[in-house]
Structures are given as C-alpha cells and as structure tokens.
Amino acid sequence: MTDQQGTENPSTKRGLSYGERRKQRIDELAAASVDETPGVSLYASAWRRLRRNPVFLIGAGITVLFVILAVISPWLAPWDPAATPLLDKVRPQSNPIPGPEPGHPLGGDDRGRDLLSRLLVGSQQTLIVGVMATLFGLVGGITLGTLAGALGGWVDSVIMRMVDVLLSIPSLLLAISIAALAQKPSQWTVIIAIAVIQVPIFARLLRGSLLGQRVSDHVLAARALGVKRGAIVFRHMLPNALGPVIVQATLVLATAIIDAAALSFLGVGNSDDRRPEWGQMLARAQPFIYDHPHLAIYPAACIITVALGFTLMGESLREALDPKSRR
C-alpha cells in the first residue's frame, strides 16, 4: 500500500530505489522541454533573463576564469611543474614540506616542486578530462538516445533497458569498475570511465525529449507533407530535442570534474606525477594531512570552486530555458 503511494506520487521519492529516483529526475528534465510555448524566441528570452541573474554571472565568471587559466597556465606558471627547485629544502625527518618563500608563494610539495605551478598546470588536466569525458558521453548518449527515440519499437526497448541497468548502478562505483579494467592507468582510462557513466543520462534525456517531439504538431505537419523519416528525425525532431541535453551537459561537466578527481585520488587515473592533476595531488597530500593540511586544501578548493562554477552556470541555464519557470 505504502509502496504504491510512493510510485504514484512523485513528491514522495523516499520509497523509490536509487535507479528509479535517477530515472525520474531525468524524465522530469525531458518533460520540461516538451510543452514550451515558443512565442518569443526561447533562447533570446532566456539570455535576457540570464544577463541579470547574479547566480549565472558568478558561475559563468568562475567557468570563464578557469578555462582561461587552464589554457594559458603553461606560460603563467612560474616554474615547470615537474622541476624540483625546492628539493634541497626538503628535510624528510624534520620538515618534509618546504614552506612559502619569495618566488614560491605557496611553498613546495614533498619532492620540492613549486605548489602554485602545479595547481595552475593541474587545471589543464582537469579541463581536458572533464570536457573530453562529457564530449564522449554526449556523442554516445545522443547516438543511443536518437536510435531509441527515433526508431522506437524493440530498438527502443533494448537500448532503454540497457540504460536502466547502467542508471541503477551508482555512477562512481561503475566508473571505478570500468577504470579498473584498464591494464595501465592513464588519463584516458578516466575519460572513458566517466564518459560511460554519462551515456545513459544523456540517452534517456534525449529519448524522452524526442518522444515529446514525435507527437508534436510540427512533426505531424511535416509528416502530412510526406517528408521522409530521416529528414523528420534530423531536421524536425533532433534540433528541437537537443536543448535540455546541452544544458544538462554543463551540469554533468561539474560532476565529471569531481568524478575525475575522485578517480585520480583513488589511483586509477594518470599515475605520471610529472603531469599534475588536482585529484592526484590530493592523494599525494594524504600522508601530510595533519601537519601540512594546506597541501590538500589548495587542490580541494580548486576542485570545489570549478565544480561550483559549472553547477551554478548549468543550473541557471536550465532554469532559464525551463518553460515552467518562465513568466
């Protein structure tokens, strides 16, 4: 009895399983895109409201700053992140971590490398892993979602059951399992693992949004003119269905960055520590966490700030494009 109430009323989500809750969230997003009233251009009016939204401005500011830093970091960093200018200051017994000094504002790490330079260059890895993983996830998700939503029938059933299975597994656990399959851990392991956990999210979202398009008036009108199926899917359905998927991608990017850091922290990522990465720096800071917490705090703060930036931006984008919140 209570179980039945749980599934009937979407507001009581407590009785639902983990996978069910995730599915419901994705479906709500897909549904939000369907009943849009395209009086004014959706994107024009969304942009007008975004420009005055402080949440969006903060998120976009952080994101833009992070991207610029990541791109110019090799020139910006005062030292080569692999060089060991502070090696002679490292005293394994008395002072394993060199403190700040002129030319090294944040000090060094346990191998005498400049911490600031490593943090700056680390942003590059984070950006590459996050963007590449989300890009691959998008490609996979859009392919599967389009197949399911456009063809329907048994193709739809098979793809969506596979997606449901993937969604029912906690995403980080799945990513670790996939990454662990790789023989030699590298940043590509992380990228592929994170892309795989994103595929079902995008696929389900796009399929839902395509189903809404399939019964829309303009698709019916196109069919009434004899337009072929391929053209209907790629010209009339897909461009109108992609909106929520693109917005979700900015949100997923934030998760991808956190997951990438988590995977490197757990040691399934890039093991070459001449190429710094924030999660890997966190892992290396572990033995010194009590005496030199700053070694962990700096990369952690970077991860949190960047993830927050993407989340704020994605969340306000989603809100602005959601017809339910439009007035």
Binding site: P38, G39, V40, S41, L42, S216, D217, H218, L220, A221, A222, R223, A224, L225, G226, V227, K228, A231, R235, H236, P239, N240
Partner: protein, 329 residues
C-alpha cells in the same frame, strides 16, 4: 467538375480506438462522402465528433498502434488505406496536403520558413534547394505574404499568426496537390485574420481547381466557403446537403442546434446565448439507438430503441427519426 468521377471517394470509413483492457471506441463509424475536383466539402461537428480523426485517417497519419481503420478511401483508382506507408508518404504533400489548426506549433521553430517551404519541393519535385528557392518566394507572394525575400529567412516566431498560417498554406500548396484538407485552419486566428485566410483559401480553390475538405465547428466558415456540408455527430454523418439548403431548411435537430447556437447581433440585449444541452459524453451507442437522443429537443421513445437509418435523397441525406423542417429566415 468536367468528369463525374469523384477525386476522392470515402466509403464506410471506420476508425476504432482500441486500448488495452478498455472497450474499443468507435471514433469514426461508417462515414462516406465524395469530393469532386474544385469542390469544397465541409465536415462540421462539435469537439469529439470524429472530424479530425477522419482527416488523419484519410492522410494515413493515425498512429499505427491502438487504431483500427476500415473502409475505402479511393483516390484515382487506388485505395489509399491499402497503400504501404512509403507509398502513402510519396502521395502526402504531392497529391493530398493538409493544413493544421495551430499555425505556430505546426511550424518547426528552429528552421527558417524558406527551408520549410523548399523542403516539400525538394522531396516531391526533385528540385535542388537553389532551384526551389525562387519558387518558394513566388508561393509566399501568392499566399499574400509581403516582402517574401525577407520572410524566407525568418523563423516562425518572427512571423505574426496570420503570416504563419499563410506560410503553412504555401507549404501545403508547394506541389500543387489535387486535394487539400484543412483541419480548422482559422480556429487559432483572430476574427479579421480568419476572414483573410478564408478568402485566400477560396481564391486558391477557384484558381487551381484543387478540391478542399474543410473541417470546422464554425458554421460561419461553412456558410462562406463550402459547396456541400456534412454534419457529423458521434462518428456518423447525420445530415448532408448543399449549404443553401442546409442553412435554409436544416432538418436534423443537431444541425438546428448548431445553427441556433450561433450568436446573433440582432438578438435583444440580455438574451442568453443558446446552446445544445449536455455534451458528447451523454451519447447513446449508435448500434441500438440514436446517439444524439439524450440531448435532442425532439426526442421520441423510438429514438432510444432504434438506430435511425441513413436516408439518401438527391443532393441531401438525413439520419433522424423525427426530423424538423425549420426555416432560418
């Protein structure tokens, strides 16, 4: 008009909705009519009487699942209902086109008007987009869109409601179809635009010799446009006649109800608008009675016990046990 063979001949069309675990619902229950070239045929009735389902069935656009379509739709010697879906797709837009109710939602919001118009010609007339563009410009001009060169590049949201409906009409006329089905083409427009669109449709039908099936609940539209009128109730035609006869001497109580519910300017102030009592939810099954009996002002005991049969007279037809001869001055 020169030949006596109808352009489209619908015989005993039946559409049944079947839902798992529910009684099958007969949305269209044995509808027959003929459309001749250059003729405008009206299908009239209130919401839920089967008008739109009829038009979608003619176009082969009903979803494959949950629908059962029977009967014959003969067009140029072939039964459209027996065609494969790809053969039907070749005919849609080329031989038969359709105009929908809501011009905004019937246009693709992310594709410019020009490409939406040329798409049809590329599809059916083997033209490249470059060849089709000047033709699209002519079409927009033909349906009365000012500054067609600029409009070709516009997106649907940049056009007004009337312009959008004109663009949709241009798209449906792109391949000069022999038959046009208009499903309440003016319902979503305001009254002045309605008149313009109706005048345009009338002009196009007269110029091109295209047959038009006009689906509407608005008897005013029928009066201005249609040659022959079919009044539909609960999936069956209850009265047929040419518009002059129908407006002057309608015999079916349902037609009278529809005519009586048109607001009149000369009615005294404060007089209530008349309506047909009840709704289609009250209908009785056609199999053992007259579906309209519960709402009928002229109901007899017989109406609840016996199905009224279709009586065909020259140029008219009626399905009623107790018809009235009412004169609408």
């Amino acid at each position: 008009m020169t030949t006596n063979d109808p352009l489209l001949s619908v015989r005993d069309l039946r559409v049944t909705f079947t839902r798992h675990g529910e009684e099958p619902f007969k949305a269209v229950d044995g509808v027959s009519f003929d459309v001749h070239a250059g003729q405008t045929l009206g299908l009239v009735g209130e919401s839920g009487c089967g008008k739109s389902v009829t038009s979608l069935a003619l176009m082969g656009l009903l979803p494959a699942r949950g629908n059962h379509v029977e009967g014959e739709v003969i067009h140029e010697g072939t039964d459209l209902l027996k065609l494969s879906s790809s053969e039907m797709r070749d005919r849609r837009g080329r031989d038969i086109a359709m105009i929908f109710q809501d011009p905004l939602s019937s246009l693709n919001p992310v594709v410019p008007i020009g490409i939406q118009v040329t798409e049809v010609m590329e599809r059916h007339r083997d033209l490249s987009r470059k060849e089709a563009m000047p033709k699209a410009r002519e079409l927009l001009e033909r349906v009365g869109i000012p500054d067609p060169n600029a409009r070709l590049k516009n997106y649907p949201h940049q056009l007004s409601g009337g312009m959008r409906q004109r663009a949709l009409i241009a798209m449906s006329l792109a391949c000069a179809p022999r038959l046009l089905i208009a499903d309440e083409p003016t319902t979503a427009l305001d009254v002045t635009i309605q008149a313009q669109i109706l005048a345009l449709l009338k002009e196009l039908v007269e110029d091109t010799g295209t047959a038009l099936i006009m689906i509407t609940h608005d008897l005013g539209v029928v009066a201005g446009l249609c040659d022959e009128v079919n009044v539909l109730y609960a999936g069956r035609i209850v009265e047929r006649g040419d518009r002059h006869r129908l407006f002057a001497h309608s015999a079916h109580p349902y037609t009278n109800g529809l005519l009586g519910s048109i607001p009149r300017l000369e009615a005294p102030r404060g007089e209530r608008l008349t309506s047909i009592p009840g709704s289609v939810a009250d209908n009785l099954p056609w199999t053992s009675s007259c579906a309209f009996a519960p709402r009928c002002p002229r109901v007899l005991d017989r109406c609840r016990e016996e199905t009224p049969v279709w009586e065909e007279h020259p140029a008219t037809g009626l399905r009623c046990h107790n018809p009235a001869e009412v004169s609408h001055g």
